[in-house]
């Protein structure tokens, strides 16, 4: 009597791979993302929507830069710094890039340690990630201060097309906000991991649900996304 014991059909091992799997997943009952928890799926869908937001920012930046008759300020020179008497073009942005990439690296390690149940190591790595993120925001604040002192405004700047300022403040401001929110969330998740919430299945203060170490991975998705957006901003705004 095989019908009496129904096997859970959406358990991972029975899923078919490749295109057949895609068709089977999408045409099946209840849920398309079979071996992905709702938390992770929702984070991915949120990140997809955020992709469109940053996509529209970069797109409007492209449009104003292409359509202006006034020359565009040279970002290489605008973001140059004098360090120990040497003129270093774009140096601050390069350092910020390396800081953010390093924070992504420590975040990936934190996720890995979380799944290995090394909770202290995972929490420490997350705090290091938060620290690197805060450093990034600090350098961005320095950059904004410097540019504002030099006379850059959303409506004008001393070097060329006025749209430079509006694009700059809009894009980097929105990205910086994302980093800041990420730092706050990192500290919250790190505290949970440190306290052993996911080992003791302690219920969350807001949802009253038991957490799993997957929360660290979901936090990581957001953080890597912030790094990912910076890759595009670095390429299109600072290097182009």
């Amino acid at each position: 009597m095989p019908d009496i014991l129904p096997t859970p059909t959406h358990a991972a091992p029975t899923l078919s791979p490749g295109w057949r799997g895609i068709v089977a997943d999408w045409s099946s009952d209840q849920r398309a993302f079979k071996n992905v928890s709702w938390g992770k799926a929702m984070m991915w869908i949120f990140l997809l929507s955020d992709t469109f937001i940053f996509g529209c920012f970069l797109l409007s930046y492209m449009t104003v830069r292409m359509s202006t008759t006034v020359p565009w300020p040279n970002p290489s020179e605008v973001f140059a710094l004098e360090i120990a008497g040497t003129h270093m073009p774009l140096i601050l942005i390069a350092i910020m890039t390396f800081v953010l990439i390093s924070s992504s690296g420590t975040m990936a390690m934190a996720v890995n340690c979380g799944y290995r149940r090394q909770r202290v190591r995972s929490a420490v790595l997350m705090l290091v990630t938060a620290l690197l993120g805060a450093t990034f925001v600090g350098m961005q604040a320095f950059e904004w201060t410097k540019l504002i002192h030099e006379g850059v405004r959303p409506w004008e700047n001393p070097w060329g097309a006025a749209q430079f300022g509006s694009s700059f403040f809009m894009i980097t401001g929105f990205h910086g906000t994302h980093v800041t929110i990420g730092v706050i969330f990192l500290i919250i998740v790190a505290r949970k991991v440190w306290r052993g919430d996911f080992d003791q299945e302690r219920r969350g203060f807001f949802t009253s649900r038991k957490g799993q170490y997957e929360a660290v991975e979901i936090m990581g998705l957001y953080w890597h996304f912030v790094d990912l957006v910076w890759v595009f901003i670095f390429a299109f705004f600072y290097l182009w």
Partner: protein
């Protein structure tokens, strides 16, 4: 009810087992991200211009983005259903880009031709 509980339990463990990768993978990706970032910075240092500059910037950008999504965000190990659902829609933004390129060209044309700018 018991069935749902079993299913969640199976799902819970499988999700964890799935994303259990050796630390080495992350270190190698991390290293490559550093190398690629250095390359894209060197594009500016060496004052490369024109199509060479733009194609190199796009190449390094795409490689970095791919590494982050595939390994740091674990997309390489996710089911294709999720990967396609998340990765295909942003590609459609390229159509929007094409539309705005035409629009920007047209705006520039009108500014030059009728507003006496440039």
């Amino acid at each position: 009810m018991a069935q749902i509980a079993t299913a969640t339990a199976v799902h819970g463990t499988s999700a964890e087992a799935q994303q259990h990768h050796p630390i080495r993978v992350y270190l190698v990706v991390w290293g490559w991200l550093f190398v690629l970032s250095t390359f894209s910075y060197l594009v500016d240092i060496f004052h490369l211009q024109g199509y060479l500059r733009w194609s190199l910037i796009l190449l390094f950008m795409t490689l970095k983005a791919g590494l982050i999504i595939a390994f740091f965000m674990h997309m390489a190990w996710e089911r294709l259903t999720l990967a396609y659902a998340i990765l295909l829609p942003p590609v459609l933004v390229l159509i929007f880009v094409a539309i705005m390129v035409f629009e920007a060209d047209y705006t520039l044309f009108t500014r030059k031709e009728f507003l006496g700018a440039g």
